[in-house]
């Protein structure tokens, strides 16, 4: 369960900008939620805060009861390792590593044994339909295939939460539909909690719950 209580995020610069303003939110285990809103509404900021990539200025975020603001940097990283998988708009694959190596990356960082890692990476790449492209480099793949690799990497330890920032934003519409189908399929099969930040109305509507943000405030929270 993800729970946000009075979360505010301000960015200090020449002029202070409030990206999120006293957001209260609760997302239950196994939900598939879309975060929508115009540019600058605070959706990516919200996703980054939930993923522990950034810290709120005020307020609390708790994942399964663990309050993130009380954790050290390394403790936060460990929590992210075990509970969260990230999918980025620009895939963020490491260009010098093969598909297998990219997917293995989080498992190596966790210190898994080599045989276990290979078995899991094979399994995940097969799951996303890339079982035959294990040794390819990202530059040898299409955009959709790259995003599949990124999804496989995000699922490395089958985390209970999957955070996706515009996962179809850099893909053509047909591939976007295909990737969305894959995420939905994984959500159903693995009972993963999924949060998707999107501009795409179709993507938003495919989620059971839609949260709309505007100027850092939740303006709509509806279940379809």
């Amino acid at each position: 369960m993800i729970e946000l209580t009075g979360v505010t995020k301000r960015f200090d610069g020449k002029k202070q900008v409030t990206a999120l303003n006293t957001v209260n939110l609760r997302i239950d285990k196994g939900e598939m939620v879309s975060l929508v809103g115009p540019s600058g509404s605070g959706k990516s900021t919200l996703l980054n805060l939930i993923g522990g990539l950034d810290k709120p200025s005020t307020g609390e975020i708790a994942l399964d009861g663990a309050v993130l603001s009380g954790l050290s940097d390394d403790a936060l990283t460990k929590l992210r390792r075990d509970k969260i998988g990230f999918i980025f708009q620009f895939f963020n694959l490491l260009p010098t590593l093969t598909c297998l190596e990219n997917v293995s990356l989080p498992l190596h960082l966790r210190g898994w044994k080599k045989a276990q890692i290979e078995e899991r990476a094979h399994e995940l790449l097969t799951l996303v339909g890339l079982g035959k492209r294990l040794e390819h480099l990202p530059e040898e793949l299409s955009g959709g295939e790259r995003q599949r690799v990124a999804i496989a990497r995000a699922l490395s330890v089958y985390p209970p939460i999957l955070l996706a920032d515009e996962p179809t934003g850099n893909l053509d519409s047909a591939t976007g539909v295909e990737i969305l189908g894959l995420i939905r399929d994984l959500h159903e099969r693995l009972q993963t909690t999924v949060l998707i930040v999107t501009h795409d109305k179709n993507v938003a509507e495919s989620c059971a719950r839609q949260i709309a943000l505007k100027d850092g405030v939740v303006v709509q929270d509806r279940r379809v």
């Binding site: 990230f86 490491l94 590593l97 990356l105 490395s156």
Partner: protein, 850 residues
């Protein structure tokens, strides 16, 4: 200029640390250049100042090398009508036994005539005995000291000052304290004046003088009078102005000057790579900025000038800072350098003040500027060639194109062929050094290719040990040869320098130790000086003969070492009984027939020269060496060459009988003593003490003492070369820091992804550390290989132009192994800062970083 302010200044402000690191290479190079030269200059200035201040109104000085001459020469000079005044001088350094800090330079003069040349103003105004020199002369224990020396040591008029003379400790009475003047500031104020005839006894000169100081009649030109005196006295006497002594010292210490040049040029050369690397990185990172400028109408020329202006400004700032730092370095090392040069060359001076030469500083600024401009030339040209359309597109700008690599490899191959040809046909100095430099350029051009191969070779190993951190570190290098090759080249060059110097030092030590074993094999030595290179004091022949008669002495050899001019340069003559030496010492023969050459030399029919003399003076066995003696020119065949390291500038072995005959000098610097079996050094020490009592001043050295003294001086000399190593390593470490600083900027997103998918801070640090260690390892391996070539050239340079020592090639494997922890440790240390920067940044910004 406006572009410099709007574009360059903003870039520098944004990348301040990197900009500082870039100019640090120039700072260090220029600092070493200015520091070593200023220190050397200060020592030379101190020496010439001492000479000038002591000279007073002296216009000409007459010497016969260091050998001195008999009293009658003075009369001959005084009888020349063109000479207004001519006075005898003995100049030597003594250590007072009581109440003194430091050595005293004793200027011994004949007070009757000397006041025409030098002014002696006394503190208390009581000039009576100076007014009447006979008062001073009538009391042979008179000595005058300077106000500075008196104040520093708490000495007053009529106090006693004991000097350890050749006849044992001798008490002098301070009969005058000189007021501060030009003369009294000579030798840092540690100056004393005594009667020349008293000094003959103190320093064991017999009835000889060291030199004559003179002034010519009014209206006559000293040069013309000098020529006339040379004609009258013969070529064995040198008639020169006092300032020419400075030139002789400069010539003696020229090896040090060359060493200083090599060190600073090497530091600047490595610094050049750092600048090249920084500018190459800046050009690739600023491609879009260049593209925009070009799109807005900037010409290629304007872009090139912009980058060159940046480098010029950086070069000038670096050179300015370097010059300041250099003066500080000189301040720290002038004193100890003065002592070292004094010990090696046996020349007294006291360098206390640093004299910075404006010409040297201006030269350093120009050197820094040129180095910076040369380094930035290729990146600036590349910047000018940037295609505006491509520049605005994102691309793999850190990769080197296949074409670039082909060109580099082609050039490297061509250079290697030329190097090969230079080795086959490289007798001439120009061809040899051209080959040397081409070999460096060939190596540098091969660095990107070799570095890439090594990085690819290391990747599986790194990945096997550290699957994520290792693989990413290797990939970072494989993907960015443009970013890393400059740092790797700088490091490889530093390592090669260390290998070359290490190999040379190892070979030099081995040769010197072998020479010590062969040449310095007596059981003990007696010397009139505490310092074996100091020739101020000499034993009379009678002393040596008395020692020879002591029971338990199997053999004695009387050695007189003296610098005499050969080809206009002072060369060490070692006069000894050649026949006796042959029985005990077999110096390795380089050319000539061993037994025959010694037999001929013992019969006075020629000289044996050291190999380093032959190399430096381009002389061969069989040639005639003409030496100008007080008795006229002496033509001596060179009977052969041997390995002898008696002096850095080479030595000439001449039989004692010949030396005595032509120089009328039977004094002795060192008595070599071989003991009968069963007699110990301690026993002999007691026997000498019992025999000599307080009649003579002498110091006993055991074989071990002498060896360790020579090895200590050798250590100090090579200590200077270790400065090169420190600077080279420091500059290349700066290169690694610079490269890593850029690397973490380039890899910001990658590092952000690592953290986002679960990488702990320690793991992120790990990948940066491994990148640094991999750069270090590649630089080390390439440096080992380059070092093998550099060692060959270092040994050849040493033989041809430095010491003339022909050393055997022997790769310093132990030093190569020691470098593993040194270079890897330094690389690791250099990565600590960048690694911390990598883990401290905002994760969100890193993931959004383009």
């Amino acid at each position: 200029m406006i572009l410099l302010k709007l574009i360059s200044w903003q870039y520098v402000r944004k990348h301040l640390l990197r900009s500082l690191l870039t100019i640090a290479g120039i700072v260090l190079g220029v600092a070493v250049f200015v520091g070593m030269h200023t220190a050397n200059q200060s020592v030379l200035t101190a020496f010439t100042q001492t000479v000038d201040r002591i000279a007073g109104a002296t216009q000409l000085q007459i010497t016969a090398g260091e050998a001195g001459f008999e009293e009658e020469v003075l009369e001959r000079v005084q009888n020349v009508p063109e000479v207004r005044v001519a006075v005898p001088v003995i100049e030597a350094v003594a250590t007072p036994e009581t109440r003194s800090k430091g050595n005293l330079l004793i200027l011994a003069v004949d007070m009757t005539g000397d006041r025409s040349l030098r002014e002696y103003a006394l503190e208390d105004g009581d000039d009576s005995f100076i007014e009447d020199p006979l008062v001073f002369l009538a009391q042979p224990d008179s000595i005058m000291i300077t106000q500075e020396f008196a104040a520093e040591n708490g000495i007053k008029s009529n106090d006693a000052l004991t000097l350890n003379s050749m006849d044992g400790p001798k008490k002098f009475v301070v009969r005058g304290i000189m007021k501060s003047s030009g003369l009294t500031s000579a030798f840092g104020g540690n100056l004393a004046i005594m009667d020349v005839y008293a000094a003959q006894k103190v320093f064991g000169r017999g009835r000889r003088f060291d030199r004559i100081d003179l002034a010519v009649q009014e209206g006559l030109r000293p040069e013309e009078v000098g020529k006339k005196l040379e004609q009258i006295l013969g070529a064995g006497y040198q008639v020169e102005s006092p300032s020419s002594r400075g030139k002789q010292f400069e010539s003696l210490s020229s090896v040090y000057g060359m060493l200083a040049n090599i060190t600073s040029l090497f530091a600047l050369f490595i610094g050049m790579f750092i600048i090249y690397n920084s500018f190459a990185i800046a050009v690739t990172q600023r491609r879009s900025e260049i593209g925009i400028l070009r799109a807005l109408g900037a010409t290629r020329g304007q872009i090139q000038v912009l980058f060159l202006m940046e480098s010029a400004v950086g070069g000038l700032i670096g050179a300015g800072l370097g010059a300041g730092l250099g003066v500080l370095i000189a301040r720290g090392m002038a004193g100890s350098l003065g002592n070292l040069l004094g010990e090696i060359y046996g020349v007294a001076q006291k360098a206390e003040e640093v004299s910075s030469d404006p010409q040297l500083l201006a030269g350093a600024m120009v050197l820094g500027l040129i180095t910076s401009l040369v380094a930035a030339w290729i990146p600036a040209r590349n910047a000018a060639r940037v295609d505006p359309v491509q520049a605005l597109q994102k691309g793999k700008f850190q990769l080197l194109t296949a074409g670039e690599n082909r060109t580099r490899r082609g050039l490297a191959f061509l250079f290697l062929v030329l190097v090969g040809l230079s080795l086959v046909y490289g007798e001439g100095r120009l061809i040899f050094y051209a080959g040397y430099f081409l070999s460096i350029f060939a190596g540098v051009l091969m660095v990107p290719t070799l570095g890439l191969w090594l990085a690819k070779g290391l990747r599986p190993l790194l990945k096997a040990i550290w699957p994520v951190e290792g693989a990413l570190a290797a990939d970072s290098l494989i993907q960015s040869p443009r970013r890393t090759s400059g740092a790797v080249a700088a490091l490889a060059l530093s390592v090669s320098l260390i290998i070359a110097l290490g190999g040379m030092t190892q070979a030099a030590y081995a040769s010197i130790e072998e020479w010590l074993r062969i040449a310095l094999n007596p059981d003990m030595y007696l010397s009139p000086s505490q310092n074996l290179t100091d020739r101020s004091f000499r034993f009379p022949a009678a002393f040596a003969e008395e020692v020879a008669k002591l029971p338990g002495v199997r053999r004695t050899q009387f050695v007189r070492t003296v610098r005499l001019p050969v080809d206009g340069e002072p060369v060490m003559f070692v006069s000894l009984e050649v026949a006796s030496i042959r029985k005990e010492v077999r110096l390795p023969v380089v050319s000539g027939d061993g037994d025959k050459m010694y037999a001929e030399a013992a019969a006075g029919r020629g000289v044996i020269v050291s190999d380093n003399f032959a190399l430096q003076h381009k002389r061969k066995a069989g040639e005639i060496l003409t030496v100008n003696t007080p008795e006229g020119p002496l033509d001596m065949p060179i009977l052969g060459t041997v390995v002898d390291y008696s002096d850095q500038k080479g030595s000439i072995l001449i039989d004692r009988a010949v030396y005595e005959k032509y120089w009328k000098d039977d004094s002795v610097n060192v008595v070599r003593i071989y003991l009968d079996e069963g007699v110990t050094v301690a026993q002999m020490r007691d026997r000498v003490a019992a025999q000599m009592g307080d009649r003579y001043r002498y110091f006993v050295f055991t074989n071990e003492d002498l060896r360790s003294y020579i090895l200590k001086i050798t250590d100090q000399w090579f200590g200077l070369t270790y400065i090169q190593i420190a600077v080279a390593v420091l500059v290349s470490i700066l290169g690694i820091v610079n490269t890593l600083t850029v690397s973490i900027t380039d890899r910001r997103r990658e590092l952000g992804v690592l953290q986002a998918v679960g990488g702990l801070r320690m793991q992120i640090r790990g990948t940066i550390w491994l990148e640094a260690l991999t750069i270090g390892a590649i630089g080390l391996v390439l440096g080992w290989v380059f070092g093998a070539v550099a060692l060959y050239y270092a040994l050849e340079t040493s033989a041809r132009d430095l010491s003339g020592m022909r050393l055997e090639y022997s790769y310093p494997f132990r030093m190569a192994l020691v470098l593993i922890p040194v270079i890897l440790g330094s690389s690791f240390l250099s990565s600590l800062g960048p690694a911390e920067t990598a883990v401290r940044g905002s994760l969100v910004e890193a993931l959004e970083y383009e």
